[in-house]
Structures are given as structure tokens and as C-alpha cells.
Symmetry: C2
Subunit: 150 residues, 2 copies
DNA sequence: TATTGTTATACTCTATAACTATA
DNA sequence: TATAGTTATAGAGTATAACAATA
């Protein structure tokens, strides 16, 4: 090929962000979007979003927990969680079993297929994380992790 | 009063987050939500969201810039920006003037009312930021700022 | 009475595609 | 042909309220 097929576009001209320079929330938001976009791209082949990955991870680590516990752990509203779980259940990745003891609760479990998908997801998520470390540099990555972890 | 009027609720039981412990994106997301909720509460009285604040701030610092420049600066898609600006224009906070030179562009400016509202917003946003520093502690706040700023 | 899961509604955000007017 | 702004649509996230079943 002689030349790029993509049309030449003017370099995106960026302006002064003014007082946003002094706001933590602005930079946290920009980083979060950038990280999630990379995550989504990396796991696109298996169609697992960041929220779905977090749900599978917590169920995997806490088999039999209830929806309310899952929601509290991840900060997801219980009404929102219902639809999230519906989709994963329809995909055959998890099941809602009757809870022993409390008739109001469901005990959440990954199915065999859910375990397999989660294993793939974890491999891709690890690749994503290594990519972050490479792009941010070890020092900055470590500084962020140390400052962010509660 | 003798007792709290709010019903007693069981302490939210939180589970193990498993492999999420090793993912930067998880912690960045949790922090971002926490910071934005605080921002929204602090500026609730004047009904300015984080996105609206960022738009007012960049227009204030770059009077006459175009929508595409504003979008590039903040990472906001131009289609989304249209509705954001519509609302602020309807509230009388900004105006879209004809650009000299290029008939396709608008030159964005804050109105007098927009300047006044932005001044209020900046005061409240500063209070929000001081609150963050107090809640996170100076060391952690500084570490985050240093690691986040590009 | 309170809690768990569910349904429903409304609003925001994000991602596209297509249209227009201008260049 | 490409760009700036606009409109429209669909999907996801967020915030509520209300309901049934169970405690």
C-alpha cells in the first residue's frame, strides 16, 4: 500500500482546562474512562463488561452469597443488579438457587460454563492489567494502586 | 427527640472482592463515583453537574472556542455536547455566537449570568475539593494528584 | 414492620449513524 | 471530500417508587 486509507484529520486542538487543573475528580474521571475503554476492548471477544466481570469475580470468591450482599460489596443498587444478573443467567453463566434458611434470598453460584468463562475473563483481565502497567510505567502504576486501595 | 427517626438497618455485609483487588480500574471507578457524589451534593443548590461545571470552566478559560474544540478538550462526543450546551443555553448561562472566519463554527461565550453562576460554582467546587483533602488526608490527596495529573 | 427480590419509570451517559451547511 | 453542528436511536448506568413474598 502506498498511503494510509484513513482520511487525514486535523490534530485535535485542545484548550486550557482552567480551574479543573485543581480538581481531583476531573483527573480520576479521565483515568477511569481510559482504563475502562481498554478493559472493554481487551474483553470484547468474550463480551464481558467491567460490571459483569466484577459480578462474576465476587460470586466466584463468595459462592452462595445473596443479591443484597453482592450489591453492597460492589456498590450496585439492587434494582440494577436484577437486570445485570438476568442477563448473565440467560447466558447460562450463573444460577439463582433457593437459600437455606431465608426464603427471601437467592444463593448465587457460577455454573460450570460460568466458571469457564470467568477463567477466560480473568486471563484477559490480567493481560489488560499488564498493559496498564506498561502504559503508565511501574512507578506511576504503583503510586496509584497504593493511593487508591482503601 | 428521644431516638433517631430513621429505621435501624442491618450493617451492610460486605464480601471478598477476590481478584478485583489486583485491578486498578476497580479502585479508580469506586473513587470516581465517591468523588462525583460528593461534588453533586455540594453543588446541588445551584444544580450544576460535574460535566456542566467542566464545560463552564473550559469556556470561561477559552472564550470564543468552538464546540469541537470544547469536546476534544474534555473528551465529550460532539453529539452529546450539543444537548449539554442546549440546556446551559436555555438556562441563559452561555451563548453560541457566529464565528468570524468559519461559518460552520460557533464561538462559545458565557453570558453575564453564566459568569455569575460559574463564580458561585467555583466557590462550591473549592469547598468540595477542601472536603476531599480533609477526608482523604493530605498525604493521600497529594499522592493521588501527583500520580493522576498527566 | 422490615428486608429481599422484582418491576416500572425517568433521566443521564455513551456510541452510532445520518443529515445540513459550510469549507 | 472533509468538517462542524445537529438530530435520532439504542444500550447502559443511576435513582426512585411501589409491590409480593418472607422474616
Amino acid at each position: 500500500m502506498t498511503k494510509s486509507a484513513t482520511p487525514r484529520r486535523s490534530p485535535p486542538m485542545v484548550s486550557d482546562i482552567g480551574p479543573l487543573k485543581g480538581h481531583l475528580g476531573y483527573f480520576v474521571r479521565r483515568l477511569q474512562i481510559w482504563v475502562f475503554q481498554d478493559f472493554i476492548r481487551t474483553l470484547a471477544a468474550i463480551e464481558i463488561s467491567p460490571a459483569q466481570f466484577s459480578v462474576l469475580a465476587v460470586i466466584h470468591a463468595n459462592e452462595g452469597l445473596s443479591q443484597i450482599e453482592l450489591g453492597n460489596t460492589l456498590g450496585i443498587e439492587r434494582a440494577r443488579l436484577v437486570r445485570l444478573l438476568n442477563r448473565l443467567e440467560r447466558r447460562g453463566l450463573l444460577e439463582r438457587l433457593p437459600s437455606n434458611g431465608d426464603g427471601r434470598r437467592h444463593a448465587l453460584r457460577l455454573t460450570a460454563g460460568g466458571q469457564a468463562t470467568f477463567k477466560q475473563a480473568r486471563n484477559l483481565a490480567d493481560r489488560h492489567e499488564s498493559g496498564l502497567l506498561a502504559k503508565l510505567g511501574e512507578a506511576r502504576y504503583r503510586a496509584l494502586m497504593d493511593a487508591l486501595r482503601p
